[in-house]
Structures are given as structure tokens and as C-alpha cells.
Symmetry: C2
Amino acid sequence: MSRRTAVAVAFVLACGSAAADEGMWLPAQLPEIADSLRAAGYQGDPAELADLTRAPLNAVVRVGGGTGAFVSPEGLVLTNHHVALGVVQYNSGEGRDLIETGYVAADRHAELPANPDYRVLVTTGFENVTGRVLAEAQGRTGRDYYDAVDRASKALVAECEAQGDVRCSVETLFHGRDFYRVTQLELRDIRLVYAPPRGIGNYGDEIDNFMWPRHSGDFTLLRAYVGPDGRPADPSADNVPYAPPSHLRLARDGLAEGDFAMLAGYPGITYRHRTAAEFDEQVNWRLPAQVEVLDALIATIEAAGAGNADARTRYASQLASLKNGSKRFTGELEGLLRSDAVRERAEDERGMLAAADGTDLAAIRALQASIAAASAQRERDLLVGYLGSQTQLLRAALTLERLRMESARPDAERERGYQARDHGLIEGQLRQVQRRYAPEVETALLRTLLTRYQRLPDAQRLPELDAAFGRTPEALDAVLARLYGGTALGTEAERLARFEAARAGRGMEPDPLLDLAAALTPALQRLEDARKAREGEQLRLRPAYMHALVAWRRQQGRAVYPDANRTLRVSYGRVESLAPRDAVRYAPLTRVEGIVEKNTGKAPFDAPQPLLDAIAARRFGDYVEPAIGSVPVNFLTNLDTTGGNSGSPVLNARGELVGLNFDSNWESVSASWKFDPRYKRAIHVDMRYMRWLMDEVYPAPHLLRELGVPAAR
Amino acid sequence: MSRRTAVAVAFVLACGSAAADEGMWLPAQLPEIADSLRAAGYQGDPAELADLTRAPLNAVVRVGGGTGAFVSPEGLVLTNHHVALGVVQYNSGEGRDLIETGYVAADRHAELPANPDYRVLVTTGFENVTGRVLAEAQGRTGRDYYDAVDRASKALVAECEAQGDVRCSVETLFHGRDFYRVTQLELRDIRLVYAPPRGIGNYGDEIDNFMWPRHSGDFTLLRAYVGPDGRPADPSADNVPYAPPSHLRLARDGLAEGDFAMLAGYPGITYRHRTAAEFDEQVNWRLPAQVEVLDALIATIEAAGAGNADARTRYASQLASLKNGSKRFTGELEGLLRSDAVRERAEDERGMLAAADGTDLAAIRALQASIAAASAQRERDLLVGYLGSQTQLLRAALTLERLRMESARPDAERERGYQARDHGLIEGQLRQVQRRYAPEVETALLRTLLTRYQRLPDAQRLPELDAAFGRTPEALDAVLARLYGGTALGTEAERLARFEAARAGRGMEPDPLLDLAAALTPALQRLEDARKAREGEQLRLRPAYMHALVAWRRQQGRAVYPDANRTLRVSYGRVESLAPRDAVRYAPLTRVEGIVEKNTGKAPFDAPQPLLDAIAARRFGDYVEPAIGSVPVNFLTNLDTTGGNSGSPVLNARGELVGLNFDSNWESVSASWKFDPRYKRAIHVDMRYMRWLMDEVYPAPHLLRELGVPAAR
């Protein structure tokens, strides 16, 4: 494996500070926006940030579903408490609840193993493979284009992973314009070093989630181990701490309002470069439609669960998830309306199209036609999607039927999710059904979805679904009564017996729900085929849109960053207060006294007594921020983040570690589509709070020394 | 009736500004705290505020359950929308919903009648009657003291009301130290002149209740009419507008942060001069105990209502009221804990007792003993109180039995609430039962209360209750099954038939619940007798406590205002922002743009289109406050208010009308016990918002002219 990969990225020049606070920049773009970066206050050399495989950015790693960073030469990894929660949970059990109590490893021997599938991924390669990915796709369209890109990507991944110890992927930037192969060293012996108690690490829990002001110590320290040869290894007592290629240094002091801040991490997915039509559809149809259906499903579960405590228990998790979804979609909708995103995007696109050249224009018109065509069946696609995701027994039947079909082919040709390596996951899901299913609730959910489906115009309905479920609510009721009265899939042993047959590609013992699944599958496969064809076509056409957009932004003097896609990005800005509503202003730093204010003694506002005692006695040591007269807990910046940025290190103007990103404010839920500088904020743990806890409250002087900062004891 | 009553109030001298922002001062106290008032910014002569029967304070009147003020020489009264809501509702009905649309009377003929029992009360006398009230009580104790005060007060009221057209009452200040007879002219022809639509007057409704920032146009204009002879008269077309003895003048400009403000009104009840033991009991027992019982009752109704839609409907109102109670008690508890009220009061009282003289001390010890004695049965008294207030059928049975007993005596000797003039109210309540009762919920509520009762120690239980309900949950279940299986009181006709008998003092048709009521009544009457004896004793003893407290405050250089008791009070302070929690700061003025931010188009956030249009077009005329660059909607002061202050006029340093009080912030729910200057704020309608609405949005130029302010049209 090569530690160094030639990175040749030619993006667009940056001019001025037009979009200084917005942007999930690729490291390679930073030299181009060096003036803006320096004007914002960065004191280092932007060129040093250009290569994500060199220091300091190669200290920033993927951990769990989020981000982390090496913070010592001996493999200490700092990430969020909520990102490492599974590790803490894995070490809890009968008589030992480390989530509740927290954990401080007294020495290396006391460091506890992570769950076996937990990984730290160190990015070691980021290689432009656009030519190879598109070589075969050129001249093709639609599904053929999709398949060609898919084949080339799989080949690139297989070739890369053949070297061993690495996980590889091919990612597109600018929606089909550029393709990069990402190589990540896969460290698989990870151990728990320091976790605060739940009453600190998750103080406020769901109630404070998305909220500011915040008072959470959402951090945990892990350590990566490798074999004695320095290469990734399975967990073993013989392993030694990993020596990372670089690590971040903790700042001695912290930030106050207005100070420069930057952040690096692996943001998930954003939609900021979508077309005006897609913005319009998101705001004026998709979000309201999703909220409507989710709220109907919520009401269905609540009605079916009233007077049925057993059903309420079984559906508690699904209900919570539906409510969370409805709340998030509502927040996104509110935010996009507040920011007037549809109108602004439409005006912006009009300007872009007026300036675009003829070749781009032709492709853009084709792209717009493809998007419009997909919209013709959007109501149906939404409802059919929920048929699978919001049911238990029907989903099990559909999975079994698809597994049976795929298993008839050679493993490599099977659809992702149905290969041999996926069997464990499928079996686990089939076992889970038992705890989350009640027939009267599932039929009620299906009635909610399918009566809506029945009301769709003819052009959107599918013959197989009409035949299976009937055309009227009365017919549907009879079908559901027959299906759920007759199915044996409600019994775990019956499901697992059929799973054994299906994974072997054999026919399964008959069942009314499996008959239904067999009848529906051709229709569902047609939808899947159409989706892939559409994705292929849009992958082919969007580069023209991006080309026109980049040219248009150049005219405006603005650089363009690609939409986030889980690749390493850098954002910069400053510590900034928030005025979210008329007459409301939130200060950008919270104080430990705010913990006491919120403390009720009951979860999630039950701060541990040692913390309350230290605050009451003002045993603050050297950790006081003069501007607020206390130890800062969390702080707010205008940095550009989204899901996946959890655990991102926040650096000061000298590149030193001052904070740990862990959340955003409620007003910025819509930032996945539009960054509105008035409302978009990121929420971080102040490193002074972490250091104070480690020095004064749950002391770990040996770790502070390893982190290179003073310890009072 | 004399318009002028000699007011001889000798309170305590005021020194300096120690408590400049706290205080519900009697007008007569204002000359004594003149220095503080001037230091705070008042530009008028404090002596002019000393007599509440002269201008400007005689412009401040009681309206409905709140406060209002005359604002024109022709009887225009300004009060809150929520205080006048009944009047607007009275004029709505089939095809006309004035609550929804608002109302602007084009001229005097278009002014609409108020409901017949609606009154405006103008205070015309405030007379010290301490000597007469206590003449007969001297030398007595306990129940005899109570009865003597009660008899003397009734005689003073009867003598006063004999003159006609007035409503009189005797009120005690300083808890039994001073007694005043209040004489109020009773205006009974009140008409609706101007009300904004619900989407303005009640914008935000329950969601925004107690909240800041606020955006409510909570005002309404009424007009008082009198007979052609100038005396109060029943509604009649011959009546003429009342010429008030004085009226408030609207300011041309408004206030900004830091400006002086004062307010006059009729605050309800406060407990600030209660003893340390009473503070302790309130925080450490009563509020938590009330929350515990209310939450148990809430859970009981919710459990009984699950799967029973009919029961849910019947108990929706009781449930809402219980939740509101629990929320308020919780807020009060939080506030008192946040302010460390118990410790502060205890330290303060210790200092006071150390400085008190021997005579006072003896009485204070006796007072403390009386308070402690009452506490011995507090758990029982709380539960027994809820037995009556939280049931429907049991309450009806207790009422009927008591009515039967009282009706056997001459009307004048009957207990208040059971006299002939109360029969209409009782009948109405007996009819209401039907809509709010389900036997399975009432028995569940009784089970919740009575199983708690059964667990009380022997000393707290009552033989009659033990005999009636048994000593175990099993026995109780059997009793409840028999009672509610056998009672006929669930039928309206059966209740009303017994009402006819009871009001005539006759025996009623037998019923298991009436038998129960007859069995319980002797115990309940013993509790009532004990309460009156205790109240008499405390009325006798508290003046010594007040005497010691006033002397102690004098040592501290502070004046003492009496606890609020619905008499006219004045508070002064300034426009002030609020920092209720760590990192949160609320500005003291809201802007009309905030209405648009909150607007969802759905009640309670559905601002009317004409308002939204005027804001969008910034048709702001001369109503912009430069400090916020917009029309102010509501503003925040540190004025000292409580329930009953709704509709209080807010005046500037020159005594001109700048605001209309309508609410407090959530953090100040506990101010009935303790004024904490960090958190206590009052919320007012800015008169510029009212004038702008009347000028630009729902124009009433003729009314603006009557109010003496410019009108653009």
C-alpha cells in the first residue's frame, strides 16, 4: 500500500471572502481559497492542509459512523461519547454499567476491548480514478451507464483491497463529474480508555438534542492497537499501541466569541447543488408528503396501541423513530421556508442557465426532464417504500423471497445485501421481528398506507399491487384478514426454517405472505430497475449542471465545494452567537453553572455528584475562560457540518485542538440543502471542559500527560 | 356616597433604593418612598399618587377578574383582550364570530352590549375601619376571633351597600393588622367598542402563555355607560357614556430598554410575608405533595381513558386543568429552589426574631405553634380537599347534603355558597355533571386518592372515612363497586329532583352516595370548623409578626408593602431584558417581524392577512421604535405583578400610558412567594402596537381621535 498518493485535483479558483463561512472544502481546495482562509484568521500555511494523507489531516480518522482524531503519538483517539457508546455498552453487563458510571483506565492493561466489529479507519489514499470509472461508460446512457460505472467501481475496489488491511471505496464528487478511490487503513483492535459517566457524556439526552444552550461532555478516548509488526491485527494481548502518522496537539487555551475556528471530518450527504426543480419538490412536495404519511403512521400506531400495552411496547421503538423523522422533516421544512430556499435557488439557477453554454444547456434540459419524469410517480414510490420499511412480517416475506431469487445465482452476481456475507444480518433481522411485531398494528399500518395507495390515479398504480390488495378499502380489509390470519411467519422458527431454504436458493414452505411477496416482487423489481436507470442517466447528465454552476460561481467570484459524501472535508469560520428568533440571543459559550441550572436529579438531567461538588466549590483550576468567568462547557461556531461530522476535531488559528464537534442547532436541520449563515451553527465540547474533568473531577493525570497538557496532580 | 374618603394610612418610612424594583405599594405609601421613586426616574410628584380616589389613580378600575383604565373623558376603558373575552363571546353566535374576526364599532350606536353580569368597578372609597372590625374581637381567640371579625365586616359592608350603586368589602392589610373598607361604584352598562381578531388578541394562546418573547395584541376597548342622571344604570338605549373622574393619556412615544415604567392595578394574592416555616412547608412539602397527587390523578385519568374515547372526552377539561396545575406548581417549586427562597427567608426571620421585642415574640411563638399544629394533618387535609374538587358525583352528593342542612336555617344564617342567591349556581353545576362524568374514571380517581388516605397514620385519619371506605384497598374496591353500582345520581333528572328537595330543606329520596355524604359530612364540618378556628387565631397573631418584620426592615432601611389582596397597588421599575438561563438573553422589546416568524397559518399562530400584509409592506407610519428598527409589539419590565394585574396600565416617567400589562414570564411563577429581581418580569402590550393596528391594520380613526393621538386617515 502506498502511503502517498498523487492527488491531482483541479477545482476552481477562489476569490475573496464571498462565502467565507460556508463550505465543506476538499483539502486539495484549500490552497486555492488560501486568501479567504487567512483573512478569516488562520495563521498556518493553507498549503499544508492540501493533502489529506499528510499531517495534520491524516490525524483525522473515521470512527464508527462518525469522525475522530489521533491525539497522542501512541494511538489515543478522541471522538464523541455517542460515537463510542457501543464500545462502552459492550463492556457493561451484569453488575457493571460503564455507561452509567463512566470509565477511567488506570493504565494500558486496564484498557477495555471494543466490540469486534468496531473500526478506526485512517485515510491513506485519495486517488482520482475518473478516467478508469468512466472509460466504459462513455457513450452509454441510463441503466447501461449505471452498470458500467458500477462494474468499474467494483473492480477498482477489489484491486485495492487485494493488498489487505485496507477498506477501499470509489466516491463521486460533483455528482458524476469526478471519481476518487479512497483507501483506508482498517485498525481493528480498538480499546476504551476514558469515558465520562452518562450524566456528563449524554447530559440532556433527547431533550437537549439539537438544542442550544447545551451542557454535554460528549467525548470519549479510545486507543488503537496493531500487531507487533505495526500492521492492523485482530485483538490480541500481544498487540501494541498504534503509532499514527501524525496527531493533533491540544491547545493550552481556548476560544472566545469571534475567534477563528476550523474543523475537519467526514460529513455525510448534502444536497446543496441540486437543481431548482429538486429544491422545489423537496419543499413543496416531498417534506410535507413525508410528514403527512409519517404523522398518519404515528396516529395509526397510537390508536392501535391505546388499551393494548403489549403492542405499545413492541412498537415503542418504531414510534420513536417515526416521531423523530416527522420532527426532523418538519424542522427541515421550516428551515427551508425561513431561508426562502426555493425562490433563491430558482433565481440563482435562472442566472446560471442564462450564462451557460449550449452543450451544457442541452444536457441540463435532459437532466431536468429525467427529474420531472421521476416525479410523475413520486406519490407511489414514497408509499411503496414505506410498505417495506414500516412493516415487520411483510418486510420479512419480501426479504425471504428476494433472498431465494438471488441465492440461485453465483454469489458475486447477487444484489448487494443478499450475498453470503449478508446472511448473518438477514438472520438477525428475521429473529428481531418477534420483539417488534403485533398483527393488529401491522395490518393497521398497511391499511393506512394502502388506502392512500388505492386513491392514486391509474397511471401511478401497479397491476400486481392492485391484484394483490384489491381496489377498495373493503377488499383490502378482506385481503389483510386472510393474509395475517393465515400466515405462519409470525413464529420465529417458521421464519428461520424458510430462511434456511431461501439462502440455499430452494423453494420455501408455502405461506400466504410469501405468496404475496412472490406476486409483488416483479413490480418492486421494475421500480428498482427504473431507479437504477434514472440514477445512471443523472450520473451522466449532472456533470454538465456542475460545470455550468462552477462557471456561474466563478463569475460571482465564489469557489464551489462538492456536496458532502462521507469524504474528508474542512470547514472554517469563527465562534459565533446565535439570534434564532425575534428578541432571542444565545451566547456562544456555556458555563458549568448552566449544568447546575438544568440539573433535576432525574435523567437526563442528573449530573454526577462529583461534578456538582466541583462546581459548587468552584474548583476551576486554570480552566476558566475570562470572558465568561467560568469553565466553558460547550461552544458554538458557524462551521459547516452535517451528520457524520460527529467527533470532528475543532482547531484554532494555529491548528491546535480546542473543541470536539458533536451536534448542530435545531434551526440548521435544513443545512443539508441550504447553508443559511443567520441560523447555521455547530455545537462543540470545549477542550477546557474535557481537560478540567480529567484533571479535577474524574482524574486521569497519566492521560493528560500523554495528551501533552498540564495535570494538577 | 362620598367621592372623597379620608385615607389615613401610617405605614413605615422608606429609605433609599434597597428594594427599588420590588413592591406592590399602596398608593398611600408612595409619598414615603418618594426618593426611591424619583431616583428610579419618575418625573411627577409622588404625592399626587397617594390617594387612589383622585387622579390619576382613580382612572384605574376593576374589570372582570382583572384591571382596566379609563382612557377618554367619555368612558372608554382599556383592558386585556382576555379580560374582555366574555363580552366578545357574548356578541358572537350563529353566523357571527367576533372572537375570530375582531370588532370595530363604527360609531356609538354600533357599540355592542356586554353580558349582563359584566361590571366596571371604580374605587371611590378606601377607609380605615380597623377599630370597628376589631372592637368586638379584642380579648377573644380562635374561632371566636374569626366570628367577631366576620360579623363586624358583614355589618360594615351592609351599611356601605345600603347607599346603593356600590359594591363594598372589608379587606385586611398586613394579615389582620389593618382593615380597610373599599367602596366601588358599580357600572353595569358596559359595551364593546374595539377588539382585535383572535389571531392578534390571543396570538400564541396556550403555547405562548407565560412565554417570552411574546407577540400578542392582548387589548380591547370597552365603554362604560350610565343613566342620563349620571348614576349607574341597567343597560338601556337611553344611557349615556360615563364621564370618569379622570382618565389616562396615551403617550406619543414609547419606551426602550432601561426606561422608567410604573404600573397600577389590582394584584390578587401574594405570600411574601409568610413565616419561614410556611416557606419551608411550601417548598419542601406542599408543592412536591401537590405535584405528586396531581400527577397520580393525571396518570389515573390517562390510564382509564386509554381505549375509552368517550371517557377521554368527558375528562379532557379536568385533565387539562390538572396538567396546568401540575405545571404551575412545578414552575413555582423550580423558581423557589432557584432563588434559594427557604434558606433566605429562614436567615431573614432569624435576624428579625433576634431583634424583636418580647410582646411580639410571644405572639410569634404562638403563631408558629398554630402553623405547626395545622401541619400535623396536612397530608389528610390535602387528600380530603381533592375528594371534593376532583370528583363529579361525590361532589354533587356532598353539595346536596350540605344544601339540605343549610336550607333548614334562615337564609341569612346559612353558610356562604348555600344561600338562596347561590341556588342558580348549584343547579348549573348539578346539570354540568353529565358532560364531565364517567363512573369508571371517578372510581379510579377515588381509588388513587383513598388508597393514599388509607396509608396515613392513625392520628390523621377520620373515623367517618374509615367506616365509610374501609381500611384496605380491597375493602375500598367493594365499597366503590356498591356505591357506583347503586347510585342514581348519574342521571340528571335524579340529581335535580333531589336538588328541589334539598333547597327546600326537605329530606331527599335515598341514594347510596347521599348516604355516604351524610356519613362524611360531620367529619368534613369538623375540618371546616378547625380551619376557621385556625384562621381566626392566625388573624389575631400575625399582626405581631408583621410588626416585628416592619421594624426589622426599618433597621435594614427598607419599606414594607402589604401582601397583595386585590386592593389597588402601584409598582415601579424599568424596561429590562431577561437572562433566564446560562447563555440565553431575551431582549425587552419584540418586533412585528417576530409575528411573521411564528406564523404557521394554523391556530394559535395564524396572524390575520391584513396584519401580515402591513408588516410585509412595512407600512409602519410613525410607530417605529428606533432602537429596534420596527414597530414594537410587546415589552418586558421588572414591574412587580401577579394574577389580577391583567389589564393594568403601564405608565412612563411622566405618567402617560405606554403599555398594557397582560402576563408574566414562566421564571416568575414563584413571585407570589418571592420576588427575585434576576427572573421576575412582567409582559406588556406596547401602546404603539395598539395604535398602529388602530391606524393602519383595522382602522378606527374616530377612536384614535378620542384617545387624543394622531390618526393617519
